[in-house]
Amino acid sequence: MEIGLILDRLKQQFGERIVGADLEAADPWIEIAPTALAEVARLLRDDPALRFDYLHCITGVDYVQPDAKKAKNFPWEVHFELLYHLSSMAHGHRLVLRVALPRWQGGVEGQLPEVRTVSDVWRTADWHEREVYDLSGVRFAGHPDLRRILCPEDWEGHPLRKDYKMAEEYHGIRTR
Amino acid sequence: MRERMIAEYLTTRYGLPGWLAYGGVALVQCLILLGIMMFAAALFTWMERKVAGRIQDRLGPTRVGGRFGWLQSVADGIKLLAKEDLIPKEADAVLFRLAPYISFCAAFCVYLVLPFSNGWVAQHLNVGVFFIVAVAGLEVFGVILGGYSSGSKWSLYGAMREAAQVVSYEVPLGLCVVIPVMVAGTLDLVAIGNMQRGWGVNWLVFHNPFLFITFFIYALCTVASTNRAPFDLAEAESELVAGFLTEYSGFRWSVFFMAEYGSMYAMSGLGSILFLGGWHGPIPVAEMLGLTYANHAVLGWLGDLLGACNFLFKAFLGVASMMWLRWTLPRLRIDQVMTTCLKYCVPLAAAMFVGTMLWTYALPGGLLPRSTPMGAVAEAPPWTAPRAARGE
């Protein structure tokens, strides 16, 4: 089923909560509002015409340019983004879901942005969301066991954030 | 009888005090058996590496001390002696030290009653077979204590599995041992051995089809009860690191190791006596060459020596086949080991028991005309005749 039809199907179902789309890119993507994530995910998987049953991976991308010099010609506006790469084994088509989030919840440094979990739709999201939480710092509401998966339990900070400063020492081991 | 004769000779001829003579003879016998056990363990460590090499398309040790790396076992021995055998902190020190020696003693006791040739036995027990089966059951204590006293969960798991397996495999092993004893009519190993004199046809394994199958069940149970090859759950590296042997190192580890090889060699020796004619070759070479006591005492002794080589070679074959199994087959799971024992070995052994009983009832003389009447005792060496017969 071609990407345009998918977009119309979503727009017809969710109206203005489908924020944007780009169908000509190498990987065509559709941007949705964070609040609509759970319903869109369930629709994409359960709708017989769509049948997106395979979630490849969830990626957290941090759009901010910490050092002043390069900040001038920074091509994107400052925000945080989640990418959901989906594909359907039944129909063979692929789709990228894009969700834009504020870098910090309510602009307060240290408050992680919040979004609904999709681990009840695709079981593979369980570990992927834990990894995004661990490395990029996004909280997934409703996740059964949101703990760090790659870094140690008591690690401070989220390494893949652009403005991440590694702690001076960890358990007595100098890190820098 | 032999050792009493030597002891009396010492007391009369050299006037040694009684206890020194008897003690000396007993000590010599123990040292000989210990020597056999040590030599067997050393030979088999070297052989295991060579057999493993050949099966895995490589050479095995070649440069250790000469052409075929025969010094490998000595090298291992020195390494094990030099290695520091440490005891974990929360281990139960006394039991930890005791465990390997219980295993070793149990494996050693089996050799006491195992005849290497007609009359060549340390302690000619009338209940030889029964004693071996009883003592073989003790070896599991060493493993249980070793596993428990190491204090770690992993070795406890290993000890549990080993105990469950060995204790449950004693039942079919006992059954398989009883069948040839029933046919032979006696528990005395020397008598059973002598009964299978003459051509290979007289071996108990060809006595009747049921006994033939019993031999293979016996082989299976031996492999399981000495914890080898497909049944080596206790030291399953992939799951339990090294089972109950995890915390052992250095000399203590090598004592466990010798106990395992010793009991392997002893059980295959027992198998060869019960089923494969013990010290009698398929062709009665000794009788053909006239090496019997009737001609001359020394010739008779040479015939026995030939018999001893036969016995050692058969036991050697048993151990070699165990090694062959080890390097080709994967390992069974604990519940599969238990089901093979309880659902296959025990009923089959019982059926063979009933079969053999009916067979001996129906054909007392046996199918084939026997060269020597069943049960007739071979002419024992003159000096071992009971004291009364010798007119004291």
Binding site: H56, L150 | Y157, P330, L332
Partner: protein, 401 residues
Amino acid sequence: MAVERVDPELVEFDVRTDEMLINMGPQHPSTHGVLRLVLRTDGEVVSSVVPHIGYLHRCAEKIGENVSPRQWIPYTDRMDYLAGMNMNLGWAMTVEKLMGLEVSEKTRHVRVMVCELNRIASHLVAAGTYGLDLGSFTPFLYCFREREKILNLFEAVCGARLTYSYIVPGGLIADLPPGWLEACERCLSELEAVVPELHAVLTSNEIFIRRTAGVGVLSPEMAIDYGCSGPVLRGSGVKWDLRRDGQPSVAGMYEDYRFEVIAQAGGSYPRDQEYPPVPPAAVLGDCWHRFYVRMLEVVQSIGLVRQAMEKYRRSADAVSEPIKITQKLPRGEAYLETEAPKGQMGFLVIGDGTAIPWRVRARSSSFCNLSVLPEISRGCLLADIPAILGSLDIVLGEIDR
């Protein structure tokens, strides 16, 4: 969320005597690297498995944001260190997709040849260590003897035996040395003689079947739901292989090759008549099927390499030159998955116009294959854990990145 929240699973009860909490790993002979499994066992029966990963985490993705794509190739080698070539291929094609590059015919055939050889080497390691997990030592040595020959071939091609960095964005660092094709043909014919031996020692061995058939059954729906891929997915009967169903550039690499996906459809595997039959005890999706799929893929890869050698001899054009280190990346995103031996290895690159990518992401196949372990090993025996783990064939370098 309080940082000092201790995972309840790790608290061991001393009152409860039948439940035992056992740590398998991170240093354990059969966990294929630094993986820690916390098992809650009741006697021999395992009631729950909690994998703990992250011991090999080097955060290669953070480094990817500071180096140019060509400089990041050595990091992809060290993700699945048993299949370096396939990792390089994945990253190289992702960057080529972003930049819209096309590689020459000759390069494509060399890439197919080299990647299929690496798949054989990886499956040989999987088969060998699986034999070790189940207790039989001998097949391990047979497999590694054959793998050595393949590593010698790779050494001739790119100088390294494990971390090749041979396939780079834009093409290859060097063409095949002269005389390499004959050596490769000799190695393949010797390998073809060993495969029946492996079948005899492992696949049709009664004890091996009894240890693996019906153990760790993974249903097709659960496999797709957990995002499994590769032999784990095909072992559950899902006919999905990126070499045929992948994105246009990946499927394009294999379009003129005779190739069919190895998965049990309608009760039979393609070309399974020459190989041991599926035992009655084997259930679709169990450890035995995953192992069997790998063994068939080894033979299939031998065929693919032979076809690639033929096409390489016929192709006239030269090997295409790799991109410069300071090559500017266009603005945009590209995500591409290739069929690595362990499963689908995905790479995402976001360019921002400079030579350094803005964000790099590696999607690991073993990461998803491992996430299914707690599900399929509930209620199995302690001795089954290495059997199931070995059949998933995971590599910790790839999981932890």
